[in-house]
Symmetry: D2
Subunit: 315 residues, 4 copies
């Protein structure tokens, strides 16, 4: 990731602020506020604003439950209780805003989370930077044979090299032709002073999906956790997980108690179906049970055995 | 409005904070942060947190429009442009959180605005305070004859007095019986030590709709303006308008440039239909036109004439 | 539940329709379309429209996954897979609309589910019917001692009788005074021809929270299941569960395959935290483990043991 | 637009249904149900399901307003009233579902409307078709000089030809390399049986933004009108307007009364700011007023004069 001089200056300026406020703060998060944390080859993520911290959740819950909550001794105990019982509204009382630079094909996955506010760089209005995502060789994996939306083995050196050449060549060529059609280069210089350029809203269609875009993305803590639960998961595509992993770190700095409960109850937890409960119960009781008797499909059976590390029972 | 000692202590404590932050602040709003501003007889509204200010809107818009926005000379010019052309997403980048105490029948109107986060005091969990709304005599109006959801003349003194006696008597009696059923008083004291109380989740059904409740209510700036546009309007019921009017003041302190644009383009503006445009055009051109020729209903005609202060043309 | 003659005529009329459509239908649901199913003493629920059935979910999923889904042999297999892996968007492709009559204090719980469309009877505009909820004696329970938002034992006969008298007396008195203030009775007759009535938007505040209201409530299948998962649960207040239970039956008639998967994976399932997984794993492996070693709170331990019916391990 | 044989068969099958239902229907819409209406060079839009019609709006409004609405004589009068006064919830009671095939860069504009349900074809899961958007020469316009997000004059023949060659060449090349990387062609045939293909979730990043995708898109009538108001407007990019224009036609067939009110009050209407009202008032009163005195910016002045066709007053 290479920031422009202008971006560096803006970040410096933002970070030099020392404002006095009566609002609650999150000191650990303040330490990295506005920092551009590099992700992939040209992407980054920056926390640019936030509202509330762990105490805001507790305070909202105490408004809801009134005098009754006084007996819960600790903030941590209350937050764990709320997380365990899916009391979601207190977590909506905190808000965070990120500035993200990311490849368009990842932006298209990301935007499927609707309960967020977004301002994206408009290629209708301005010219996109000449930056596109090229995976590192260790992330160039073959299509999985077993899982239609997964990756298998990493490609060998020669194969990877060839793929990268294709990706790089096509991205550069389409970007160059984008400039040709615009009659303008990414730095704003005009190519042919006597000619007119194609409308930006049309020329952009020639770019490939690994071109980088950027946006401001703002959401509340509950919806952030919903996002992270899906996108920091090993089923998620590596490229979006790279962002989610960094966001998990910002979550930890922002609301450390909530983070801990989130890891225990959501990220590290598992769900068991009604039939699965029957099976687990019998296993605990030391009874033998066959796949057929369980009523589970083979796939469900194996998912359950893996969740509880019963590898010798895999079928 | 009478705050409990505990509430006063909490507010003092919150206001004594002096935290350092790199986030942007809204100095005018900081001045009233946590203050309980009285509304109606027992209600209040407090700003308890916020995120962003006018510059946050400008910054988000500049991310969207990229290099292209640099030419717009002023923040004020850009915000007015965004407001005029319904570019809504930059306004979603600011967030505010209120603590509100309000009668239940007003809470029921308020909650119809769905794009907000809410934590309400739970009468399933705790006992509601013995506080209910009694209108001032000057707000006790007769049913409007012309508008089914409006108010007409104020009731005369005798009539108003009788209404207030009924409201007060019923609220007190139902609250007393609420305590009797609970076998517990609002201060937590038990009425009959040898008896059991009815479940709180049941007993609450005996309360009248003017009983006060409270909640934390958090929304973004765009949805706050949508709320205020409807609820600070003269068509809104007086009791919710009383809250909206105070919120308008907090809007002014928070984002003064946005406030000004909002008043010009939304609150003070009007909408003209396709048929209405034809009519106005002809009036400007000095042509006479009858109600029939206009294609408008009598009601639409009058609404339009009032909007442009053509009182002599009212039908 | 007593329907007015007018309502009965309207339902008859709606049910007599025989329209031809190219849309998919849900024959079992058609059988009960528009029926007013009684709930509590005066409430009801009616399915008044719907869109899609189980095949709509399958079709949307196949658009998403493209040619890849062809190998999944059955609709049932695909729907179970979607449910298990929280692929939520295909379930959003079905929509249902209910007409519900319910006490106001239950409406206030219900409305907290924001992702739905609502049109409620307006007491600002019209006069509410003289109907209020009075629980059956077997539902008049004492406050739970252990759970602040739960019920304990049923009140004994004498006690229950007294509570019912209070509820009934207060509801009738406040309703009568509502009429007095309005100077109009619920049937539209004027009380005193020489007097003016208080504005409806004000008079309504005198009603108690067990007064019945009604609304049209429309939501998609995903959000309906989210609602039912919380409200058909034994932690939910009995009065809202009574509605949720009937809605579960309509779900079964509408989308029988989805219903079955919903019961297996959501309603009958359970969640296990990271720490809980460790504990279950050790139990399956036949190892002893103490509460302290588990890292769980006593409450979490017991909830887990109950989920897997290990009653002898309760602490 | 060329449908595959399979798609044609599916459409035929869907259209041959003759189901009996007690639900209300929209006969004009039934006539085109499932039809693939061609848009742009390879795109289409199909109405695949709907719920409700004009009478559903009326019915919901009558539930809200209760006995009070009986006096409004006609459905048309009531719908116009609701539209004029922004009573939005009754319009949420109708729902429609489209199947849309569209270029990715248009899909990215479209998805910014968040209050809708979407199932998009997954290029993580399956291979995208070899279809990309190439504008007709008459739509190849130069960048507007005055409006950064608009189009100016159409390119001349030679220029247009060159642009099309670039677009076509790049789209074909990047698609071919997409197949090469996948080691699989769009028809499913394997290129090199001894080689492995790159994961689909990675290979897709090589495609250009004019590649076609498809989705199911479902929304309620209110949000559909919000979408159409912005996207059928002359400020919208031509390519999305092409879809919006066809959707306007489906709106007309579905809810003809609502359509008429929508055209009068929204599409054909205009908004006037507080300052604009002052100006219009003075013009009607026959007074002269200068730009300076009006308090409007030059741009606002001109927009207002254009709205009311006062072309001789343009500055």
């Amino acid at each position: 990731m290479k920031l422009t001089e202008e971006q560096n200056r803006e970040i410096k300026e933002q970070q030099s602020q020392e404002n006095i406020t009566k609002r609650v703060t999150a000191p650990e998060l303040e330490n990295i506020l506005y920092d551009a944390i590099p992700i992939l080859d040209h992407g980054f993520i920056r926390v640019v604003d936030y509202m509330g911290n762990d105490t805001s959740i507790v305070q909202s819950a105490r408004v809801s439950y009134g005098k009754g909550t006084k007996k819960v001794s600790t903030d941590s105990g209350l937050i764990k209780y709320l997380m365990r019982h899916w009391h979601s509204t207190p977590f909506e009382m905190c808000e965070i805003k990120y500035h993200v630079k990311l490849p368009i094909f990842i932006a298209r996955q990301w935007i499927r989370h609707r309960t967020a506010n977004v301002n994206e760089y408009s290629a209708r209005y301005s010219i996109l930077d000449k930056e596109f995502y090229l995976p590192e060789p260790r992330h160039l994996a073959a299509q999985s044979q077993s899982n239609r939306q997964g990756r298998g083995d990493v490609l060998n050196g020669e194969h990877a090299k060839k793929v990268l050449e294709l990706l790089k060549g096509d991205a550069e060529q389409t970007y160059n032709n984008y400039e040709t059609m615009l009659n303008e280069r990414y730095d704003g210089s005009i190519i042919d002073k006597d000619a007119r350029g194609l409308a930006r809203e049309l020329a952009r269609m020639n770019l490939t999906l690994n071109t980088y875009t950027q946006w401001y993305w703002k959401t509340d803590l509950l919806n952030l956790m919903n996002f992270l639960r899906l996108r920091a998961d090993h089923h998620a595509q590596y490229e979006i997980r790279a962002y989610a992993d960094v966001m998990l770190e910002t979550l930890k700095k922002w609301v450390p108690i909530t983070y801990e409960a989130f890891i225990d109850y959501r990220v590290g937890g598992t769900e068991v179906s009604a039939k699965g409960k029957e099976l687990i119960k019998k296993l605990i009781d030391g009874k033998n049970i066959s796949l057929d008797e369980s009523g589970l499909s083979k796939r469900e059976w194996n998912e359950l055995m893996e969740a509880f590390e019963q590898t010798e029972k895999l079928i």
